[in-house]
Amino acid sequence: MFHRYLILVALLLSATAHAQEEQPSISQLLQEPFLDDYYSNVVYGYEIVTDSQRHASRYVGNALNCSSCHLQAGTQKDALPLNVAGMYPKWRAKNGKRNGIGLRIRECFLYSMDGIMPPEDAPEVLAVSAYVSYLSQGEVMGAEPEGRGVPTLPDTGYDPNPASGRLVYLQQCASCHGEQGQGVGVAPPVWGLDSFNRGAGMHGIETAAGFIWANMPLGQGRSLSQQQALDVAAYINLQIRPADPRESRLLKLLEAVLP
């Protein structure tokens, strides 16, 4: 009797699995000779995220790729995954400018990639939006996907200390990111003029610490203590990097000139 019940459940499960149509994986899509408008944009979006230097060079101003922060092409939990289409409104404001996810993508171009904000309807933005909705297949509209963003570190009771962060950096990170933070080989620069600018989300100590704690050193996420992550984030935060594009250059000039 109990066995029969189990078989029934198994059958039901497989039936629902079939009903929910599987979408092709990226590697399958890459092998297709012909893709329709949507899937070709998904593939293009995937290429932009993994190799922004080549496929979105028009709007990129530094040496990063989207996947430098959105690890595993935006599929890794706790590493700013991109399966978040359900979190953004689909509506367009009257002037067509505040198009939810589109704006978020354009902001990452402007701040994280220290580049030019692409127009709302740039092919690159549309392609990444398509890729984001592809990744979000199966997520619940309006519900926060599991592992969105980066983990928020609890208050450790101590202020982040850049000086001890420097030691952590030299021990744990410099082998890949270089002593000057300039990046070596596949590891991208974490500061300097080829990194994200002061307007970027990663420039916030909390976000950076969460990201570093969960994912760095690459492959050994969560090996640092939370305090170490906060310290190293504070250290990185102090280094030189491009200015915040939100500041008016005229005001800065006036500030410098006027007493």
């Binding site: 293009y44 028009r58 402007l110 250059r249």
Partner: protein, 551 residues
Amino acid sequence: MIARVARQLLREALPDLAWRHRLTHWRTEIFAGFVGAVLVIPQGINFAWLAGMQPEYGLYCAIFVTLFASLLGSSSMMSGPNTAVAILIGAAVLPLAGRGSPVYVDFVFLLCLMVGIVQLLFWLLRAGRLFQYISPAAISGISAGAGFLIVMSSLDSLLGLSSFQTTFFYQKLYVILSDAVDLVSPYSLSIALVTITAGYLARERSSRYFLLIAVAAGYVAGLVVAFIWPQPVTELEYLGRMPIEWLPWRVPTLTMEYLMISVSLIPYAVTIAVIGLAQSLVIVRELKMETDQDIRLDKEVYAQGVANFLAPFFSAFAGAGSFNRTKANQSLGATTPLSTLAASVFVLLLVSLLGPVLTWMPMAALAGTLFIVGANMIKWSDVQHYARVRSELMIYLATFLCIVFFGLAAGVTVAVVLSVTAFLLNISRLELREESTAAGTLLRVRGALFYASMETLSDAFHRHLQGDLTVDLQYATHIDQSAVDFFAREAAQMRRRAQTLHLRVNATQSHFLQSMGVGDNVRLEALQDDAPPATIPFAPHHSTTLTGETR
């Protein structure tokens, strides 16, 4: 026979470098090429935008289409990015894929490949001279319509709107006007206004460089705006970095699926091929009249075809002759293809050098120049010019309105159909002049006597139910079998009414009529061949001629 045709085709197909013997002022040519390159850069970027492509493809078009067309052609015509062609590319491919996406780019290149093939077919069929039947009024109408479309599409970037599609232009205007405060970005608008004002002020001084001055003014205005307000506030669009390569080799995607879908592109390919050749041949014919270059139309058709066919292999979209750049080239004294060759090399050099500067070019400034270009294409003087002949004004207006409401492709079709109709109506028109003489009625005929013009003649005959009729055929340009049959039939009927039909003909006509069998009922009166009448008894024809008014 076949061998001769093949040899002739081969001779046209190979580049003809005879112009190098005429090359006396190579420095003039190279300087003209430099100016051409400077002029084409903003055009290439703008027209790429019209075609829905990334700007570098427009620059590749300015480099490679110019290069191939001038290498293979026989004239100093400047080919390259062309407004009507660019608009049509956009109209053709937008229904198939999102603007600028990889599939879109693939389809554009497939389309250009087809355009090249169609043009090469025109060449093989020796159809170049068919384009003379497209009336100048139609070409001006197309140009004005394209100008209107350009002005409308420049509004998007000019006012800083995200581009939105409406079926008819007035809907767009309505949306813009009713929501101006929300929609229009003051930053874009002010940059565009600076550009346009500078352009119109500069045009008074220099008719050649005013667009460059306009772009430069817009660029500076953009810098000032960016200095005061940061980009997140203005949300200004910039050109961005252009990944320019020196040899952007690529093989167009030609899978079964692409070919199946691209069947729907064939009508557009034909339209683009026709409009491209029509414009290029107008330019070439004018060059031929105004300069002493040894220009062959068929060779130019071939050069355009090959250039457009090869364009996709070098990441360029299709192009055609450019009226304004050819004029600039000519006024700088260039007479050989060397200037155009130099132009394409200079584009490559300039863009590689200017790349970082162009990155921060505001799209609003480019839209401003596009606005000027478009507005310049709509000319009141054209309307006045064609207003003198009703049929031509009709063609001009019908073409223009059709483009404004239904798009460029529909307009081009209407233009071609109307020109051919007008042409046919024109040649089937007979001019008749009656005189009463002692021997009966004398009917002088001018025009071509063929099946389509018989109606007029038969009306005239049926007004003469008594007395003899003499028809003077010395101004008839053509007589065909149906005209001969007509005369034989009428003569037989008249004979039954005791009338006689006389035809006053020259020796060749007499010979022809007899051999076609007019029969005995018709009396042929021989004319002295070498004694033309002192005055031609017809009023002069009214028609406009091809002048510098067309682009």
